[in-house]
Symmetry: C2
Subunit: 223 residues, 2 copies
C-alpha cells in the first residue's frame, strides 16, 4: 500500500475493490487471448460489470492495458520484496539471498503464470505499447538484476565469460516456463506443475541447478 503507483488511466475515483476486480479480469483476459483478441466486453463480464462502465473509467482499450500492466508489475514488486524475516535468514550471504530469491520467484511464477504470458505476447516486435511499458516498469529493476548477475559471474557461480543478459533470461526462463506451459505439461506428460508439491519441487530443482548448497566463490568452472 505504501507506494501504490498512480494508475494513469483512471480519470475518476473508482472503488478499490472494483478496480482490483477489473484489473484482475483484464489481466486474465489479456493473458488468455492477447491484446488484440481480448475484448472489453469479456473483461467487463468477468468482473461483473457493463461494457460501457469500463470504457468510462479507462477511456480506451489501450489505456486499460497500461493500467493492467502497471498493476501487474506493482504486484510483482510487492510480492518479490524481501521480508524482514528473509533478510535476516540470508544475512550477509549473497548466495543464500539468491537462493531465497529463486524460491520466491518460482512461487510467484506459479501463482501468476499470466505474467510471463503477457510479456511474451507483447514481445513479438518492438511495439509502442511494449516500449512504453518497459520504460515505465522494467528498465529500472532490470539494471539492478543485471548488476547482480555480473557479480555472480565474477564470483564464479556462473560461467566466466557468460553475458549477464544470457544468464538472466536463462534463469527467468527456467523458473517461468513450466508454469506458463502448465496445460501442455498436463496434457503431454500427465504432470500437473501447479500442485503445491510440484511447485516446491521445482523451486528446489532450480536452486540445486543454479545455486547448489556446495557452490562457493571459487573459479573451478573456468573453461
Amino acid at each position: 500500500m505504501q507506494h501504490m503507483v498512480e494508475i494513469e488511466a483512471a480519470s475518476s475515483r473508482i472503488g478499490e475493490d472494483t478496480r482490483i476486480a477489473v484489473l484482475d479480469a483484464a489481466l486474465k483476459e489479456f493473458a488468455a487471448h492477447g491484446f488484440g483478441a481480448a475484448t472489453i466486453r469479456d473483461i467487463a463480464a468477468r468482473a461483473g460489470l457493463s461494457h460501457g462502465m469500463i470504457r468510462y473509467h479507462y477511456k480506451t482499450k489501450e489505456r486499460l492495458w497500461f493500467a493492467t500492466v502497471a498493476f501487474l508489475f506493482e504486484r510483482q514488486r510487492e510480492e518479490l520484496r524481501f521480508t524482514d524475516e528473509e533478510l535476516q535468514r540470508g544475512r550477509g550471504d549473497k548466495l543464500e539471498m539468491f537462493r531465497i530469491w529463486l524460491r520466491k520467484y518460482v512461487r510467484y511464477c506459479a501463482r501468476h503464470p499470466e505474467h510471463a504470458r503477457i510479456m511474451m505476447q507483447e514481445s513479438v516486435a518492438p511495439s509502442a505499447r511494449l516500449e512504453k511499458a518497459i520504460a515505465k516498469h522494467l528498465r529500472g529493476g532490470h539494471a539492478i538484476v543485471r548488476k547482480q548477475m555480473e557479480d555472480h559471474i565474477k564470483s564464479g557461480l556462473f560461467p566466466k565469460n557468460a553475458r549477464p543478459e544470457s544468464v538472466i533470461y536463462i534463469i527467468t526462463g527456467a523458473c517461468q516456463n513450466i508454469f506458463a506451459l502448465a496445460p501442455e505439461a498436463r496434457l503431454s506428460f500427465g504432470y500437473d506443475p501447479l500442485t503445491k508439491k510440484a511447485i516446491e519441487a521445482h523451486a528446489e530443482t532450480v536452486v540445486a541447478m543454479f545455486c547448489p548448497p556446495g557452490a562457493q566463490v571459487n573459479t573451478k568452472r573456468k573453461r
Copy 2:
C-alpha cells in the same frame, strides 16, 4: 522431404511454394497475435494471396491453424535431427551428444522464436486445439526426452531427486526465453540476442551451465 507428413487440411493439391508461403505467413501471424486476433485476411495478404483462396484450401481458420502447427513441428523435427557428422562427432558419449543437442536447440529457438510463442499462447487452458495438437505432435517426442532426462538425473548430471518434468522445462525455458523475448531484451537492456555472436554466446552459456566440460558421471551433487 523423405517423410513429409500428410497435412490434413489441404483437401486439394496446392503448389509447394505457395503452401510454404501460406504456412509461413500463418505461423508469423498466429505467433504475433494469437489464434483469436490473427486474421485470415492478414495471413493471406502477407502471403500475397486472396482471403478466399486460403479458405478454399484450408476450410476453416482452425484447420489452417492445425496445418500450421503440423508444419512447425515437422520443420522442428527435421532441423533438430542429428546429422551423420554430429553423430560421429559425439560418438558414444551421452554428455557430448547432449551438448551438441543443446547448441542445436538454442540455434533453433533463435531461428524460430514463433515456436515458443505459439505454444505458450495456446497453453492458457487445456483447450481442444491444444489437446489435439499435443496428441499428434508432442506426446511421442516428449516421452523420449523424458527418458533422457531421467538418465541424466540418474547419472548425477542433474540433481538426484529432481522431477524429470522440471528439468525438461528448465532447460527448454533457458534456451527459448531470451529469443522469445528478444524485443524486450533490446528495449530494456539494449542487448540484441539475435545477432550471430549473441546466439552462439547463449548456446555456450547454456552448455556451460547445464553440461559443463568437466561434468562427469559422479554423484558429487547429492544434497
